[in-house]
Amino acid sequence: MNAFATDMTAAPDGVSETAHREELLRVDNVSLSFGGVKAITDISFDILKGEIRAIIGPNGAGKTSMLNVINGFYHPQEGTITWRGKERRKMKPYEAASQGIARTFQNVALFKGMTTLDNIMSGRSLKMHRSFFWQVIWRGPAEREEIEHRRKVEDIIDFLEIQAIRKTPVGRLPYGLQKRVELGRALAMEPDLLLLDEPMAGMNLEEKEDMSRFILDVNQEFGTTIALIEHDMGVVMDLSDRVVVLDYGKKIADGPPEEVQANQNVIDAYLGVSH
């Protein structure tokens, strides 16, 4: 479990690594507006297989809208999204989920009335196929399927170290643990692309360290590609392979962390500029 430490040193040469990686998702000239409000204007970027891609920007820059476009919740007016080499125009959230895109939410969106275990089991919904008939009978196929998926879910519970809260309704958990359960729920979908919307918002330093370690472990052990929105610059710079910066719905920078950090546009967007 010292993946955190090893990656810190590996980060610099991650840049050259990404060059020959396969493209998983590409967004081309996407524009999204709500009535007269332009949320996203002509944005293009790509996400390579196996990388951690950060999307940053000041409040209202269109980061979450971008994630919503990627997993099919919003349909952009212009532009195309290419997922695993296939261009798609309109995609329903159901299709995005079944093709391997999972996400967590900025405000925890767990199923409050269900236990931790059920919440993570719910991530396996798409992988369970026993029909109503077998579910009613339960004994036999439905029970076997449930146990088979329970094993996978227990692996995730072990991985996230939340064994003790397995049977606790998530509404009663503290915020940091809820975030962790939400990550577990997304992991249960065994996604190819994991979208994390501010996974560390509102956490203290220790919780942030834990979460960072989990994100790196997910990336390295499972090989999951991660796109992440985060406001903590230290975390973003340490974790991500490449960063895309949005401001007022436009892309202002894209590149490896140190390059972005030095970019004058980015500094202006964050610190403001005197005109």
């Binding site: 159901y94 991530g123 798409l126 026993r130 009978i137 339960w138 449930e146 329970r150």
Partner: protein
Amino acid sequence: MFYREAGQFKTSYKADQALMPILQDRVGLLVILAVAFVVIPVFANDFFLTSIMIPFLVFSLAAIGLNVLTGFCGQLSLGTGAFMGVGAYAAYKLTSIFPDANVILMVLLSGVFSAAIGAVFGLPSLRIKGLYLAVTTLAAQFFLEWCFIRIPWLYNYNASGAIEIPHREAFGVVVSGAEATPIVRYFIVLGITALIAYLMANVLRGRIGRSWMMIRDMDIAAELMGIRPLQTKLMAFAVSSYICGVAGAMMVFFWLNAAEPSSYSISLSFQILFMVILGGLGSLSGAFMGAAFIWILPVFLKFIPGTIGINVAAETVEHITFMVVGALIIFFLIVEPHGFARLWQIAKQKLRVWPFPY
């Protein structure tokens, strides 16, 4: 002290996700089943069976049906009475068309018709949520009631406009009509209710039950995790209406013997809804507790003045009962808005840590 799972270790996931992982719960259920299947039939008189147990079980089943929709899938419905009516009229038509077929089968089949109609009236649920959905189900209630009155074919052109349950035999025993004995009716109602309750417990702990609860708790997240909202909601409407339909058919076949359209009016919908709310949304055992509270308690209250020797007029007793039950409903909703099921859970938790507070 007596309710403690200490020492009961689970060594397989199968044992861990059993319906009742704790031994005491299993024993408790066995005791309840033994009372229901053996003690009550042996000791109860006809009045107890016909006026208390049979309606209680019928209402419990209807409450389970509504609980699937409202408690587990989060879709508020005021059309329960009408869906029960569809079951009753469907079973009546089925047994009129096939007089020789087993009437118990016909009752179980009648739910299919109410499921279909329930699914149709569930269609607006994709766009409409909460109280607004309740209003659209209200439309179902009024439309179906209108059908029961205005379509004479449904009640076989009976001059009185009511359905009267014919004499039917199954397995050589009279099961419906005026000659059917209370004990036979009781066993049929108990059997069907227990069976459906068990089957629903299976559905609710698996993938389908989870998908309903996902829609209830956070529909957007559910959608992004690959749950298709329309299919899931329609399935909940269909399953719920099926159960309500069977309950409605049992109500007229094994309890009332005859029914008018007004038997399945909006007040029945509300009665079932109150049972669900009082018993606990999202709990199967709560459905039974809610039905017991709303149905059995008033019956007992009516006997209290007589047994303790106070001589009051029957109407006064009736009115006092109304007031007491009303006050108790308010009391229990203040004590525990999540219903009897939650109260029972809290009690179990207290028993578990007794004699310490936590």
